[in-house]
């Protein structure tokens, strides 16, 4: 493994340095039909699940075939995507915000060969490489975070929970039978790199044990004032601690009953790890949305306070998700998002029809805004 230089000279880092050039210009990447018709599209139609046509005022059409995929992908897989784009799409493709891959062609006769090609590609383990779907009143790909694959703060895995969930919901990825579209999102800790807090269904990793304190190293690895100020509930204070060898060191003390398990202290101080086999697991949230359609955007609500990490397929999690999706599918009106449906029937009915337990954990007690969610009327259902 001999070192091969790119041309960079570590002795003179500024020599020929290029910086602050930003991304490549998008027009380099537009397919011809997009370049020609940008801003001229008059309407679109979803022809079948995963297949869209957009029609331009010039009479041009662009057909898009949308495929799901794991956002974690190797270069071998990306090269295969490139092969498909070269073969069918003049070397163009795009990705969606929700990690789908879109292949675009400029005439209808090119759609079927493209779809057949995509459908024919499978991994040796049996899973599809490019399942077509993710449009309209169904479930599209799950946006998610890194999880145990590559992050230091997760309370669960991301790719694993997503694979387990999408296998269960696969039929709804490839069809459009739900009352409206249903967005599932996943974040493996409260930091929510994935910002799942406005999703129809959100899978969230959560810790339940306060941080352990690695007193021997804490003052060497951390800025104690930063660790103290990182705590949103002021549960951490500076402390002097005597180690087993009699040495007195500066460290911190944690008022455990104040801890809300957010992990912000661990982000600031590696000597305060929270991760725990039994303590960590899954929170499920539901009823959020970001679209302004019909009703305002809204936050997801916690509907399951905790489910254990049950690898590799998290069956209690997928069971609860299935119950919600089925109850929603059976109960909601056409165009009604999950959260709007829950509000219409009342959350007390939501728990009944979804067969989910309601526990005291689900009543908000965080800060003043908690009050807004308590029932302040006699308008409830038995």
């Amino acid at each position: 493994m001999a070192f091969i230089s790119s041309g960079y000279n570590p002795a003179k880092p500024m020599e020929n340095r290029i910086s602050d050039i930003g991304p490549r210009h998008f027009e380099e990447f537009y397919p011809e039909v997009i370049k020609k018709n940008k801003g001229k599209w008059t309407h679109h139609e979803i022809l079948e699940s995963g297949v869209l046509v957009h029609v331009s005022e010039t009479g041009d059409e662009v057909y898009t075939v949308r495929c799901g995929g794991a956002r974690l992908m190797g270069t071998a897989h990306i090269n295969e995507i490139c092969d498909i784009a070269d073969k069918h799409c003049d070397g163009h493709l795009r990705f969606t915000t929700r990690n789908n891959i879109e292949f675009m062609v400029d005439s209808k006769d090119k759609v079927e060969p493209l779809m057949n090609d995509l459908k024919s590609r499978k991994f040796p383990g049996g899973s599809q490489k490019f399942p077509i779907g993710g449009t309209g009143a169904g479930i599209t790909n799950i946006v998610h975070t890194q999880g145990w694959l590559h992050c230091h703060t997760p309370a669960t895995d991301a790719s694993g929970t997503v694979k387990a969930t999408m296998d269960e919901l696969f039929d709804d990825f490839q069809s459009m039978k739900l009352p409206a579209h249903l967005r599932v999102s996943m974040a493996c800790c409260l930091n929510m790199c994935g910002a799942v807090h406005c999703s129809d269904i959100a899978i969230l990793g959560y810790h339940r044990k306060p941080p352990m304190l690695d007193h021997e190293y804490l003052d060497k690895l951390c800025e104690i004032p930063l660790a103290v100020s990182s705590c949103p509930t002021a549960a951490i204070k500076p402390a002097k601690v005597t180690l087993a060898n009699g040495e007195e060191v500066k460290s911190v003390a944690v008022k455990n009953e104040r801890c809300m398990f957010c992990g912000n202290c661990y982000t600031m101080c590696p000597s305060m790890p929270l991760a725990d086999t039994e303590g960590d697991g899954i929170v499920l949230m539901a009823g959020g949305k970001v679209s302004n359609r019909i009703s305002d955007p809204k936050f997801s609500k916690v509907v399951v306070a905790f489910l254990p990490n049950d690898m590799p397929r998290w069956p209690s999690m997928t069971d609860a998700i299935n119950k919600m999706v089925n109850a929603y599918s059976n109960g909601a009106n056409k165009y009604e998002r999950l959260g709007d449906w829950a509000e219409r029937i009342g959350w007390e009915k939501f728990f009944e029809v979804c067969e989910l337990d309601f526990t005291h954990h689900l009543i908000d007690d965080f800060r003043q805004q908690a009050y807004m969610s308590w029932r302040q009327s006699t308008n409830f259902k038995f």
Binding site: H54, G74, T75, R94, F123, Y335
Partner: protein, 441 residues
């Protein structure tokens, strides 16, 4: 023969959804065979070790990655996230396994030529594993060693004319929906604006000078496909001020259930919801009740429309967005860390999106907001939290925007108004001696 046994992960190879485990195994095998004769600059079996460490986490129920540490490329404070494995003896191939964020092009359009250039660099100088894409929008190159960071950066900038994205207390890589490039709903060219903002604020993107992270996201219309309203400190959502354009003939095609006019652009095709009913599905669901049929004519009282998009989404061939287009700016959205999640709050109801003058109206707002936040924001305080702490009035003041009823869902329910001295006639300086002449102690 796999380097590590992965019995738990192996169970995620079955099922129809694309298996990330199969993908990783494929990548490990391609590296092992090395038919392309790549001169690997990091351990050839790093993907085997990545599978191994992930299997160990599946067994333990805990992560095996440590905090980042300070790594990066010279002169930048973002774009690279350090990552080290906490079991380096067991998995030496991923002992140092840093992330590089590559700034994605607007709209996430690519050519295969571009992507193959990326994969070639990353096969040689990294693990070959990526995320397409990270949650903020970048191409994520997942796993390389410290000496390779500058080499990858050099190759990206010199050979690909391509820069890194943001991380840390910087402007994060701005992201957009595909906008008018392929969507008839888009009220402005999101691709052009996101490209402009990314380039205009390169310094803010690469060099940490902010109290915390700052995200721009651009949605072309109120449908909000990139969720800017929920996850960006400053959200640009396309909108219009004039009337929804109506094609009455097309309206009647929908009413007649013409096959070329499926409701909701065909999004409900796989279930029989019965014939389309304009009264029930459009007029009855309009949140403001501003639509009605007058004989065969659909009428919209545009002055009462809130542009929620439902009717346009449902009858895209009959109803079109208006022509006086621009965007609304909302500020302060964030995920729950620390004081709870915040939705974006409306700061500018309508603003022009004008490339002719370099989007001057928008950059004025941005710079005023940043000046205030950089001056007043505490360490790790997001914009939304500063607005909560100092009040919405303060952000109106620093941006010079006049308060209007559009700014609130409803007016305040308490009378605790923080009157300023110059708002009260005669000011606050008074003479208590004079007062006491009329009011005995």
């Amino acid at each position: 023969m796999a380097k590590h046994e992965t019995p738990l992960l192996d169970q995620l190879e079955s099922g129809p959804w694309p298996s990330f485990v199969s993908d990783m195994k494929q990548q490990a095998e391609v590296r092992a065979k090395n038919e392309a004769n790549v001169e690997f600059q990091i351990p050839q079996d790093c993907v085997d070790d990545l599978l191994g460490v992930l299997e160990l986490s599946f067994k333990h129920g805990r992560t095996h990655w440590k905090h980042g540490g300070i790594v990066g490329v010279f002169g930048y404070g973002g774009g690279v996230i350090g990552r080290y494995c906490d079991q380096p003896k067991l998995f030496p191939g991923v002992e140092h396994f840093h992330t590089m964020r590559v700034n994605q092009p607007a709209g996430k359009y690519y050519t295969s030529e571009y992507l193959r250039q990326i994969t070639k660099i990353w096969d040689m100088r990294g693990s070959g594993m990526t995320n397409m894409h990270g949650a903020t929008g970048d191409i994520i190159l997942l796993g390389t060693t410290t000496p390779q960071l500058e080499e990858v950066f050099y190759e990206l900038t010199h050979n690909m004319n391509q820069d890194l994205g943001g991380s840390g207390s910087n402007l994060r890589t701005p992201a957009d929906c595909l906008g008018s490039s392929r969507c008839e709903y888009s009220c402005y060219d999101t691709n052009a604006l996101v490209h402009f903002l990314t380039n205009e604020f390169q310094d803010e993107l690469h060099r940490p000078a902010f109290p915390y992270k700052f995200k721009f996201k651009l949605d072309g219309c109120p449908n909000g496909c990139v969720a800017s309203i929920a996850r960006s400190d400053m959200s640009f959502i396309g909108t219009w001020k004039d009337d929804i354009k109506i094609d009455q003939d097309a309206v009647n095609k929908y009413i007649e259930c013409d096959a070329g006019y499926p409701a909701n652009a065909g999004a409900h095709k796989d279930r029989d919801w019965g014939p389309f009913d304009i009264q029930k599905e459009v007029i009855g669901l309009c949140p403001t009740g501003c639509m009605k049929m007058n004989g065969k004519e659909l009428e919209i009282d545009n002055s009462n429309c809130t542009r929620c998009m439902h009717c346009i989404n449902t009858m895209p061939r009959a109803l079109k967005i208006g022509d006086v287009r621009g965007c609304s700016i909302l500020v302060g959205a964030k995920a729950p860390i620390l004081d709870g999640a915040q939705m974006g709050s409306l700061l500018v109801p309508f603003i022009e999106v004008n490339p002719e003058n370099d989007y001057e109206a928008l950059t004025d707002v941005i710079e005023n907001v940043w000046d205030w936040w950089m001056e007043e924001g505490k360490n790790r305080e997001r914009l939304g939290e500063l607005i909560m702490r100092q009040g919405f009035q303060k952000i109106l003041e620093v941006t010079g925007i006049k308060a209007q009823p559009q700014h609130v869902a409803y007016p305040r329910t308490n009378p605790y108004i923080f009157w300023k001295e110059d708002e009260v006639e005669g000011g606050w300086e008074r003479d208590v001696v004079e007062y006491r002449k009329h009011h005995l102690r």
